[in-house]
């Protein structure tokens, strides 16, 4: 999957999860930058990403992700 295609798919998941149609994701984006990024929403987000990309994160991987860039990197490594 091309990076742009991956970002498009991820953007759709982010927008649906946060109910924010204008949300734009970038490598630097963190939970501090998005309203309502609480534990429940994060849990749903990760679950939807796993479902959308048909992957399963390991707990260790999840707890190292400091921003969306790191998230994209891990997704890429799993689908390649």
């Amino acid at each position: 999957m091309e990076r742009t295609e991956l970002i498009d798919k991820l953007t759709t998941i982010f927008r649906a999860t946060f109910d924010e149609e204008s949300l734009v994701i970038s490598d630097e984006l963190t939970a501090n930058d998005v309203d309502n990024w609480d534990s429940l929403t994060h849990m749903i987000l990760i679950s939807e990403i796993e479902k959308g990309f048909d992957i399963k994160f390991r707990l260790k991987e999840l707890n190292k992700m400091k921003n969306v860039g790191a998230l994209i990197e891990i997704i890429t490594s799993k689908i390649d």
């Binding site: 990024w37 609480d38 429940l40 994060h42 679950s47 707990l59």
Partner: protein, 219 residues
């Protein structure tokens, strides 16, 4: 008091810590958000919380390392959690969300998705590099020994000593938890934010539709 030993919690304390999280969540009511949001019985919540605690992931309210306990004759009598928010630049809510996603069955997450819009109205972000007080609980037979006050003092002192640049302590309390609110105010905490949900439905899932955020500066 001299017969009580105060020590950091270990993974062997997980069953008592799970009970602490459950009782603190209920805030003196019978409404357990982990049950109402995820569609689980209290017994199932207890089991999943133990699973989460046993992962021993640091940095959030569901981390064994966030807890200290008071022990009496080898029995855990009380527990309290506190942590420095975002110490490793990852918000505790993210760590908690990761743990919930990892341990809970998918149908629980599906159910939570339908309720998220209602629940998140009461969400208050934790400020990075501040001490956040989490769940506290004293087993019935050990009440009246001021154990929560002792644990509070102990854990705050420990975290302030370990983190030079951290100087404020925060707590979030449901409005129905009047005893806890009074205790914090007596200890010098002041209410800085009140968050009230507009959707009455929230009372079906949380102990109250109103939450107070309190803080106290040290150093």
């Amino acid at each position: 008091m001299s017969d009580f030993i105060i020590r950091p919690a270990t993974v062997d304390d997980a069953p008592f810590l799970a009970e602490t999280i459950i009782e603190a969540e209920k805030s003196g009511t019978d409404k357990l958000s982990y049950s109402t949001i995820f569609g689980l019985t209290e017994k199932e919540v207890h089991k999943y919380l133990i699973n989460i605690l046993e992962e021993e992931i640091d940095g959030c309210e569901l981390s064994v390392s966030s807890f200290i306990v008071a022990e009496y004759n080898g029995k855990v009598a009380a527990a309290l959690s506190a942590w420095v928010e975002g110490l490793e630049d990852i918000p505790s809510t993210i760590i908690k969300g990761n743990l919930l996603n990892y341990v809970l069955p998918k149908e629980c997450i599906k159910r939570a998705m339908t309720l998220n819009e209602i629940i998140r109205e009461l969400h208050v972000e934790y400020l990075p590099k501040t001490i956040q007080i989490g769940a506290g609980y004293v087993a019935k037979e050990f009440r009246g020994n001021r154990l929560l006050g002792i644990l509070n003092k102990e854990i705050i002192t420990k975290l302030l000593n370990e983190n030079e640049n951290v100087n404020s302590v925060w707590a979030q309390i449901f409005s129905c938890n009047v005893p806890s609110l009074k205790t914090y105010e007596k200890a010098g905490f002041t209410v800085v934010t009140t968050r009230q949900a507009t959707n009455k439905e929230i009372e079906n899932y949380l102990p109250s539709n109103k939450k107070y955020v309190l803080t106290k500066n040290y150093k």
